[in-house]
């Protein structure tokens, strides 16, 4: 079974659902640790309002193999885990990818994912993990501090301070936090992450949106009103300033939800994809909006498509 859905009422309940789904699809689950092949993640309910995810090279949960940061799906001060939320779980192999989308209050969405990249080249590593909300491990996070929805659709820096809400797309660079991580030894590091500026000035990060700006920005097409499912192609900036194309998470795509509703299934040849908003769909603000702009925060029509094989 490569797809499952249900409802949960707690963070721990969602962790349990993911663990059960992973087991069915051939992953090894040992306590809060989930692994398959070269993918090792630690997924746990840190509190009633927060799930965290973290990776480790080779399943060694100590430095230097452990990622020194984690991503999280959480409800910060002023918010709490919803009384009932619907989850959608997806698994695809070649390479292994497990994805979870959570929906509550009808219009709100969050996501967790992990797996192995489709790598370009023969570099060592490739496992990745992501969660909608993010923070530095052991960093200066304060409840209610800004965690941003990021929108780099045209290469310019613009963030959406969501207060306690902290939605973001995978590998969509953040203002202060990091939400996506890749085990990648190309530069001598072990774990690379999306970075602060997502531009040439940030020499320590994996880049996605600005490098492939045109493919994100031009959708949907004027010629046929079709939105393009755009791979999250990842680029690592080397210390000499040049960029290395390293690969992509194979079974997810960036999508603009124009002419589509959350949860719609798109069929392209033999492939099927389910589409969901990044956080909150707002057709009137295509590129999203932050609270300080005078309206409720949203992620516009930015969204995610997940390979769907029921």
């Amino acid at each position: 079974m490569a797809y499952s859905s249900g409802t949960v009422t707690t963070a721990a309940g969602l962790v349990s659902a993911i663990q059960a789904f992973a087991t069915i699809n051939g992953w090894t689950v040992a306590g809060d640790y989930i692994s398959k092949g070269d993918v090792y993640v630690h997924l746990w309910a840190e509190s009633a309002d927060e799930i965290r995810i973290q990776g480790a090279r080779g399943g060694t949960w100590t430095a230097p193999d452990i990622c020194d940061r984690y991503a999280k799906l959480f409800f910060a001060a002023g918010y709490s885990w919803p009384a009932s939320a619907t989850y959608y779980l997806f698994y695809s192999g070649t390479p292994d990818t497990l994805w979870c989308t959570l929906n509550w209050d009808v219009v709100r969405w969050m996501h967790i994912g992990f797996g192995m990249l489709s790598k370009l080249g023969t570099w060592t590593g490739g496992q990745w993990f992501f969660a909608t909300g993010c923070m530095r491990f052991g960093g200066n996070h304060l409840p209610g501090h800004q965690y941003s929805i990021q929108e780099h659709i045209d290469g310019s820096f613009q963030s959406y301070w969501g207060g306690g809400e902290s939605p973001a797309l995978p590998f969509w660079s953040n203002c202060s936090g990091k939400n996506s991580f890749v085990e990648c030894a190309l530069r001598g590091h072990i774990w690379e992450a999306t970075g602060a500026l997502n531009d040439a000035g940030d020499g320590n990060t994996i880049h996605c949106p600005t490098v492939i700006t045109p493919t994100q920005k031009r959708s949907p097409n004027a010629l046929n009103a079709q939105t393009i499912l755009t791979p999250f192609d990842l680029y690592l900036r080397d210390t000499d300033g040049y960029y290395m194309a390293i690969g992509r998470p194979e079974h997810i795509r960036f999508v603009r939800l124009v002419n589509y509703n959350p949860g719609d299934t798109l069929t392209i040849g033999s492939d099927a994809w389910r589409v969901y908003p990044a956080y909150v769909l707002d057709a009137t603000q295509p590129d999203g909006r932050w609270t300080g702009s005078g309206g409720p925060p949203s992620t516009g029509n930015l969204g995610i498509a997940v390979r769907y094989d029921p």
């Binding site: 570099w123 290469g155 045109p214 079709q226 290395m244 194309a245």
Partner: protein, 426 residues
């Protein structure tokens, strides 16, 4: 499914012949082979003698090879018993010829014959004319009333005497017109091909036309490439339906290593000329749209934005895949032609100054799809060619991607970070 061919042509005319053979005869699968709507013209023009600046090739006119004002003149004192011979790439049953006389009427042919040959060595006279005169630059047509010998590859105009000039005999233009329903079509031109790709379903064709053009005295020997939406026998080259004004691929008339990649809807060509690299692409791209939404996404790309009368070393040439120039044209839905941007060369036109330059990934060279787009559309990608980083790159590097082999080329003699591309080889 794509097929590939590589080898060495003897020159720009031979290269076209090899491409036509590949597309129409050896391309696999056979269901994707192209139809040769018309492949005609000459691959050699010879004469008994000629003067400098009045070479025999000047008697052939055609699109982009007009040689305006030029004419063939025999060498001094060789004005009698002189000849001008054409070797056609496709045998032709000649029933009419046209001769444009020189400005000096005494140089015009007076007594002459039309000869044919199967081998260019043994000639047979088909018909003779005597006592012919021309006014200055007059175009005269001569009907061939003799019994047809059938289609022949070699034709010769053998001139016994002219109209009194004691120095030279001259012809401004020789023509081999054939009536095509509504108009004449002249086969006296440099080798040219009108091709129809069947499309991947066999019912969605693409029309591509390629014509050789040259001017030996200016040392250029090129291809003009265009594409349109149909083929009309009576029409010439880039006035075929829906055609874009031809782009130019600079070549030369010497040994040309070449690499072809093609399927039932496109072709990609890479060549090496005098140690420099050149590329062209023609056919339907892979659009981000269904066939009903974007039925004819035709692309024509070549280093010269027009069929320039310049040689391969011209500074007007560039790698066509860079996009946002007249060197890459895309047929839009309404039949007009656009000059799309291409990613990753143009990462964002509004923010080009901060475009990212790519390098190898730990010693591997990822091949990035060449994606065509504009301000409001993401059109699609070009098949069998890819962007490849120029970082520590070398010409004809081979890159293995699964079962595919790709070969790396630069443009011209450039070696910058973004002067490279890869074309699929196997």
């Amino acid at each position: 499914m794509s097929d590939f061919s590589a080898g060495t042509a003897t020159g720009y005319l031979d290269l076209l012949g090899k491409l036509v053979t590949f597309l129409s005869s050896t391309l696999t699968p056979s269901g994707e082979r192209w139809t040769v709507l018309r492949y005609t013209g000459v691959d050699s023009i010879t004469s008994s003698s000629y003067r400098t600046d009045y070479e025999d090739w000047m008697a052939i006119k055609g699109p982009y090879a007009m040689h305006s004002g030029g004419s063939w003149r025999t060498a001094v004192g060789s004005h009698a018993n002189c000849w001008l011979a054409l070797h056609l790439v496709t045998a032709l049953d000649v029933r009419r010829i046209t001769i444009t006389g020189p400005a000096t009427t005494t140089m015009a042919p007076k007594d002459f014959s039309l000869d044919y040959s199967a081998d260019g060595v043994s000639w047979t006279t088909l018909q003779s004319w005597t006592g012919q005169t021309f006014t200055a630059s007059q175009v005269r047509e001569f009907a061939v009333t003799a019994t047809s010998p059938g289609a022949q590859s070699y034709w010769r105009l053998y001139i016994t005497s002219n109209n009194g000039h004691v120095d030279t005999t001259s012809i401004t233009t020789i023509g081999l017109p054939v009536w095509q329903t509504t108009a004449d079509f002249d086969h006296a031109r440099l080798a040219s091909a009108w091709l129809k790709a069947p499309g991947l379903t066999g019912t969605d064709p693409a029309y591509i036309n390629i014509a050789c053009y040259s001017r030996p005295s200016s040392d250029y020997y090129n291809w003009a490439i265009t594409g349109g939406s149909g083929f009309v026998e009576a029409y010439n080259f880039d006035n075929q339906p829906g055609c874009v004004a031809a782009l130019g691929l600079p070549l030369w008339n010497s040994s040309i290593p070449y690499w072809f990649a093609a399927d039932g809807q496109h072709l990609a060509v890479s060549v090496r000329i005098d140690g420099a690299g050149f590329a062209a692409w023609a056919g339907k791209m892979l659009p981000f749209a269904t066939p009903s939404q974007y039925p004819y996404p035709l692309v024509i790309a070549a280093p010269f934005a027009t069929a320039l009368g310049e040689k391969y070393s011209s500074s007007n040439g560039d790698l066509p895949y860079r996009g946002n120039t007249g060197r890459l044209k895309l047929r839009k839905l309404d039949g007009t032609w656009a000059q799309p941007w291409t990613w990753p060369w143009w990462q964002d036109p509004s923010n080009y100054s901060s475009s990212k330059l790519f390098k190898d990934t730990g010693g591997d060279y990822p091949l990035l799809p060449i994606t065509l787009y504009d301000a409001n559309n993401l059109f699609g990608i070009l098949q069998n060619v890819r962007y490849v980083p120029g970082f520590n790159q070398a010409i004809q590097n081979m890159i293995e991607v699964g079962s595919e082999d790709w070969i790396v080329f630069n443009y011209g003699s450039l070696s910058g970070m973004e002067d490279w591309y890869a074309q699929r080889y196997v």
